[in-house]
């Protein structure tokens, strides 16, 4: 072993590489800077529609808002003073009914997935994922064939059915995730005390997973409230006040759609006002679900 520096056989190559590196440095830096700037511009491009949608909806929607707007029934085009009271009630009934069925059903199915391994559970999980990607209008067709045709007329209940089907995969997967995050020690403690599984599920698992379950439900409702396509051939919309789910019913997204495509400025204004209300509802639900998710993160 000698510590004398050996003559470096790679010296020539080192010099060439250093020359190349130094020579190309400015070009590489500029190239990188330009490419990163383009990506930065893309980020701005992505933010522009967000700002634009929100800004226009707020600016135009707020002009439609008044006490009467929320409290009155719609009036024909040209007659002022119309409101969306029937659509608010309609959305509440349609989405409330949908959630009333889909939430317990989805949570129980989620519980099944969380407690099951193997192929069957895998297939169901995969089916839920794929179902969440099926266009909502397809669900609308299904609800039409299954319920509207059978009853012989359009109905809010058919709309609830369609919205419920849309909510299901969201609730199922979110519930499974929330339930899986419950520490097994808690479950074991309950079981070792001699409690039945159903008792443990009701007293231990579900309460512990509650923030996660609520997150999932809020997300599902947020999605359901904004869905328009499945209501087109089910609840179909109405100018009148209706509270009977077997009858056609107005809904907020249907108002935005049906009034928005009219050429009458006052109907368009109603559409903007309703859109603003809809965004407000959806954002409250989304932010709420995020808060619950954050709480869930802390608990974990």
């Amino acid at each position: 072993m000698t510590t004398l520096p050996a003559p470096d056989p790679n010296l020539a190559r080192r010099e060439e590489i250093q020359r190349l590196a130094a020579g190309s440095e400015n070009r590489r830096k500029i190239y990188s800077g330009v490419a990163m700037s383009i990506c930065g511009v893309f980020l701005a491009v992505a933010l522009v529609p967000l700002v634009s949608v929100l800004a226009y909806t707020v600016q135009r929607g707020i002009r439609a808002w008044s006490a009467a707007f929320f409290a009155h029934l719609p009036t024909p085009a040209g007659i002022p003073g119309g409101g969306i009271w029937n659509a608010i009630v309609g959305s509440l009934i349609i989405d409330g009914l949908a959630a009333a069925v889909a939430v317990p059903f989805g949570i129980v199915a989620g519980l099944y997935l969380a407690e099951s391994e193997g192929r069957v559970a895998g297939v169901i999980r995969f089916a839920a994922d794929v179902l969440s990607g099926v266009p909502s209008i397809i669900i609308g067709i299904f609800a039409y064939i299954a319920l509207v045709r059978g009853l012989g007329h359009f109905s809010a209940a058919a709309g609830s059915f369609a919205i419920g089907v849309l909510m299901l995969p969201i609730i199922i997967r979110a519930s499974e995730t929330a339930i899986r995050s419950v520490p097994s020690t808690l479950t074991e403690a309950g079981l070792s005390l001699g409690a039945r599984r159903s008792t443990v599920a009701r007293r231990v698992i579900l309460p512990t997973a509650l923030p996660g379950l609520i997150t999932g439900v809020l997300l599902a409702v947020a999605r359901g409230v904004g869905e328009t396509a499945p209501l087109l051939f089910t609840a179909i919309g109405s100018q009148y006040f209706a509270s009977n789910p077997t009858q056609p019913m107005a809904a907020l997204p249907l108002v935005v759609f049906q009034d928005g495509i009219q050429a009458y400025p006052d109907l368009q204004m109603t559409a903007w006002g309703t859109a603003l209300f809809l965004i407000a509802v959806v954002l409250v639900l989304s932010v709420g679900s995020r808060l619950f998710a954050a709480r869930l993160g802390r608990v974990r």
Partner: protein, 284 residues
């Protein structure tokens, strides 16, 4: 460049330690000089006040218990902390006569002269063996095929990998074993022909056999490149290094340099009591 692939190991390396006592590093010829180097993350000091000369064409080991800032210090030398926004480096680092943080050299150009090998083998998984080896050259603007081929062969030979991969240079790097992957990463760094090679616990994820081969490699490579190696394994430091720096976490939880000396001196006759405690296994 024509090193035998396997060599007698332990005897030669055990002998080294005693041999080195006679030949301390030439003090007038450091490749890197650190002056009062400190690192802070988001205002919290992680390393402070390190002053150290790194001898050229030797293996310098940074040792110390975990939390002593070895890796943090190592990453100041190729400005890898620049990637962490909260990191702040103070003091002066000289590479030859280049002030590393002085603004005369960009981080990219610096890193082509100060290579790095990481704890875990990190070949680029989507690239072939060949593309991995020449990736650094390509990053640095080298395009000429002959140059790339020559550098690849030279680097793979130096990393004792050429014979086993020369017929499958187009194969995916992930086909190699852990030890081979780490040698591929060494070759990848060598191909750029850096002046200094930083190694951050390069054997911590390898089995004993692969570790042994990397250690042999390290001692062979010092004719080509000056090496700074972080290790938590004192035996490894004894086996591979000529010069050794001992770091320890101070009362303020910041790592600091306790002493630096030729390896034999540091292990046989440390000047600081804390060094003695550490090499006798009293903490860390």
């Amino acid at each position: 460049m024509t090193k035998p692939m396997t060599e007698p190991l332990t005897e030669r390396q055990l002998g080294m330690a005693t041999e080195k006592a006679l030949t301390p590093p030439p003090p007038g010829n450091p490749v890197m000089r650190l002056r009062d180097v400190g690192v802070a993350f988001a205002g919290r000091t992680a390393v402070r006040g390190v002053t150290l000369d790194v001898p050229e064409h030797q293996v310098t080991a940074l040792i110390g218990p975990s939390g002593s800032g070895k890796t943090t210090l190592l990453r100041t030398l190729n400005r890898l902390h620049d990637l962490t926004r909260t990191a702040q480096v103070s003091g002066q680092v000289m590479l030859g006569d280049i002030d590393v943080y002085g603004g005369s050299i960009s981080p990219t150009l610096l890193r082509s002269q100060v290579g790095m090998v990481f704890q875990r083998p990190n070949p680029f998984p989507t690239m072939s063996i060949y593309d991995n080896v020449v990736s650094g050259l390509r990053f640095n603007g080298a395009r000429r095929k002959a140059l790339l081929d020559e550098a690849a062969e030279s680097a793979l030979t130096a990393a004792v990998l050429w014979d086993s991969v020369k017929h499958r240079l187009k194969a995916h790097a992930s086909m190699l074993s852990g030890g081979e992957q780490q040698r591929l990463c060494i070759a990848r760094s060598l191909a750029v022909e850096p002046r200094v090679l930083l190694m951050d616990e390069p054997t911590s994820s390898l089995d004993p056999q692969a570790t042994k081969r990397i250690e042999e490699l390290v001692t062979e490579l010092k004719t080509r490149v000056s090496i700074i190696i972080v290790t938590h394994n004192m035996q490894q430091a004894v086996r591979v290094s000529d010069y050794c720096a001992f770091l320890l976490m101070g009362d303020d939880r910041a790592g600091q340099l306790i002493e630096a000396a030729p390896t034999t001196k540091l292990f046989e006759d440390p000047s600081d009591e804390r060094t003695l405690d550490y090499i006798n296994g009293r903490f860390g």
